[in-house]
Amino acid sequence: MFNKKMSLLAISVSAGLLAACNSDSEEKEVVIIEPVEITAEQVKSNYVAMAYAAYSDSLTTAKALQTAVDAFIASPMEENLAAAKAAYKEARIPYQQSEIMRWDTSITLESNLDQNGGPTSVDEWEGQVNAWPLDENHIDSIIAGEEVINQELLLAQNGANDNEANVTTGVHAIEYMLWGADTHGTEAGAGERPAIDFNVDGCLDTLCQRRLDYLKTATDLLVDDLTAMQAEWSEQAATTAGTLAYNFLQSENSLDYIIGSIHAMATDELAGARMNSGLTLGDPEEEHDCFSDLSHVAIYYNYQGVKNAFYGSYGTIDGAGIGDLIKQADETTYTDLHVAFESIEQHMKAILDAGERDENPVKFDQIIGQASTDTERQIAETAVEELIELDQKIKAAVQVLSLNPIDTSGGGDGD
């Protein structure tokens, strides 16, 4: 939306300047390039634009997943299951980037978010869309049960018995339905649920129809949830009281929120929960996309979300980012962060490539099982280290911009 190149440069042409070394005293035209100051307002409105774009892309890919799921349900053959899995993978790319917006703060929680009928809490919404860990026994017990499988049931059963691991909805529930449990540990191989689990005609037990119902219900709910969240960040939302976009733009703490989100995603989530937990414990079940073994994709795009917030760019958007403000305030602090981001990018890209290559791919649960001297393991551990070290540089940025810590709490998460 906001063209960064235009914002940084203003070309002014000044006529009538004398050239010092020209004895002719002729008038010369001099082109002066002046950097235009980036303002907090520009950063904020660009952030809103990026949020809208990320959620829009998440919705588009979720709808493509829905189409593929519907095709599979109509004809539950292996090829259609493979197509649905491919669509699931595509949907991870924008959604994981949108996770940089997943925290509740005072901006979201106390602000009449339900005024417009939309979600009242980002953390609660996120709990419905991407909750982890997921105890698949709970989903299995619903499928094995008698109650009609519909949205009401899934929502009622989400977090049943006050246990947040009883996750029934969202991305990982769909992932479980498409792949099934991964029994390969740290060896190659993801979940291998056969298409026949869904084939009513050739059903090996009595549950195929219920599995179809569950998959369809969860997918449709995901599309509904993303539709609701997209609406919170649109251009119209930006001027409508009671939306996330509006609250974000009105708040004095938005920059604090952006920095807080960068810290939370880079250190607590990526370095901590999403990468290092598995690496330290050696337990492949600690990878978040454990059924599909797509964590290498998920974490790469989580990291892109961190960079998007910093640089102000996402997809075709290339506008003002908080990095620009940091650079204006103190070039050294900016450079420290920029260099760090580039270094981490190299490692995260290497992990992504290792998981995607055709020849002997190495997925994240395999990295978890590697020895500390193995190639991908070393890359992952270095990435974790550098993500943790990012924290000190982020603190420096907080100082140069005179920001304050903002709570990124929500639900049971303190961070």
Partner: protein
């Protein structure tokens, strides 16, 4: 000129009246002397974090820079926050919850690393409070064992040492809980009134149908989850400093008789000074954490390898365990790596800085705190010992406001029978601690308690909705000080609360 002088004079007068709020613009152009800043606002020394948001209790020690230690802290944080699941789930590092439990995630009781709360009347929110159970009609031999720190107490026959109101699928919880409150109005000398609520706890024993009744002589002890900040610093207060204030028989006649609780250290297989928990029943954070895993969540670890199910709770015993994980074989549910990460995490949740320590009203409040006698138990300051294991916490000047000793707080706050009648100081409850004794809790972070969680309540059972209510419940050894509080006038009350709210 004359007009200017008058204006200046008026502004100057209002300036030295001691305006209490930082938010009021100060129109006084006359330069005031800077209040003397010491390090008092750094309640946790160099570990203190500058944060007054709802996350104020959730940062690591501010002086921790080693990346591998930070990684361990983050690992502990991950396992502290996230839910544990019933045995045999595919997230095998996090499974084995129950059979019986109180809550399934540490942070669901220690809300945002702060304290929990008591439910209001009619509420079923017992999610951040639990109840211990201990018998009082015990043999001389058992009593001697408690006094020589080899036995914590004699548990109740029906429910053991702790009530669990939740269970995994297929297991019957031990109790259903509810509470009612009796109002009690306290009147200050100047007529100002505060309403207190005295809890009456109601237990339905769900196992009575199977013939398992509470023992007649059991006393119950209500325990709200305490805040998690500054614990590593408390662990490094020198034992000699703590024992120096012990005065069990009140030899100096000041009415205060602090007592150290000597407890059994499972880790060291020896007697040790108790520091943590409402009655200082645990000697270290490692052991406190392992005890909480076992009793509050039904999770075994290297320190407690047997489930807490009682022998007659066969459904509990038969629940699938979560031993080991998908790559490692170990005969308990919380791996060593996770337990140790939780222990490190628990050492390093930092205390937030105070914001107004040098303001006049806060300083007046502190002076009152001292003349009222509060600091006799709420000791202001120490310098921590050196620790090779925790260099960040070493040699720090800290301001926790606790002497870490047990004190008799009076009958009103005592552990209670099923009929809600109080136990007495004759009843041993937890090693050397009696039914009326409580360890002085630290006061740092007090003022941010409700920022972190608006629902938080004070005292061991969460009965006090405000700091003033908590003060007014003080009895026993604190009765004299409490009586002096009742003599405070309105501006003194304001100053005292300004101080307490700044901690």
């Amino acid at each position: 000129m004359k007009q200017l002088f008058i204006i200046t004079a008026i502004l100057f007068l209002s300036g030295c009246g001691g305006s209490s709020s930082n938010n009021e613009p100060n129109p006084d152009p006359t330069p005031q002397p800077e209040p003397e800043m010491t390090n008092e606002h750094l309640s946790g020394g160099d570990t203190s974090v500058a944060d007054s948001s709802a996350d104020a209790f959730s940062s690591r020690s501010n002086n921790m820079t080693d990346t591998s230690r930070i990684a361990t802290f983050e690992l502990g944080d991950d396992f502290f926050q996230n839910p544990w699941v019933a045995g045999s789930a595919s997230t095998s590092s996090r499974d084995g919850l129950g059979g019986l439990f109180n809550n399934n995630a540490c942070q669901d009781c220690h809300i945002r690393d702060g304290r929990g709360h008591a439910p209001n009347e009619g509420s079923t929110d017992f999610n951040s409070i639990l109840f211990r159970a201990a018998r009082t009609q015990i043999s001389h031999a058992q009593q001697a064992q408690m006094l020589n720190s080899s036995l914590a107490n004699v548990p109740d026959s029906a429910v053991g040492g702790q009530l669990q109101q939740a269970a995994v699928a297929g297991v019957l919880p031990e109790v259903e809980l509810s509470v009612t409150y009796e109002e009690r109005v306290v009147t200050f000398a100047d007529g100002y009134q505060v309403s207190l609520r005295d809890p009456k706890w109601h237990f339905i024993n769900l196992h009575e149908a199977q013939g398992h009744y509470f023992d007649e002589d059991t006393l119950f002890s209500a325990r709200v989850a305490p805040p998690m900040i500054g614990l590593g610093l408390l662990a490094l207060i020198a034992e000699t400093d703590i024992l120096a204030k012990q005065d069990i028989n009140d030899s100096n006649g000041d009415g205060i008789s602090g007592k150290a609780n000597y407890v059994w250290s499972i880790n060291n297989q020896d007697v040790a000074l108790g520091r943590f928990g409402w009655k200082a029943g645990q000697p270290s954070l490692l052991e406190q954490s392992a005890g909480a895993f076992l009793n509050d969540m039904g999770l075994t670890s290297r320190l407690h390898q047997n489930e807490s199910c009682l022998s007659h709770q066969t459904d509990c015993q038969q629940t699938p365990n979560g031993n080991g994980d998908s790559v490692n074989d170990y005969d308990y549910e919380v791996s060593d790596t996770v337990l140790d990460a939780i222990a490190l995490y628990s050492h390093h949740l930092s205390v937030p800085q105070r914001q107004n320590a040098y303001d006049d009203d806060v300083k007046r409040g502190k002076a009152l705190f001292i003349t009222l006698g509060c600091q006799q138990c709420h000791t202001e300051s120490y310098t921590t010992e050196y620790s090779a294991e925790h260099p960040e916490l070493s040699a720090q000047k800290i301001f926790p406001y606790t002497d870490m000793l047990l004190h008799d707080m009076g009958e009103d706050l005592a552990d209670f029978t099923r009929a809600n009648t109080p136990g007495s100081n004759e009843n041993l409850y937890e090693f050397l601690a009696t039914a009326t004794e409580w360890r002085t809790p630290p006061l740092w972070g007090l003022g941010k308690t409700k920022t972190v969680d608006p629902d938080a309540t004070f005292l061991h059972d969460g009965r006090a909705r405000t700091i003033m209510e908590a003060v007014l419940w003080h009895g026993g050894e604190a009765e004299t000080s409490k009586q002096k509080v009742l003599a405070l006038n309105a501006s003194e009350r304001e100053d005292l609360l300004a101080f307490l709210n700044d901690l």
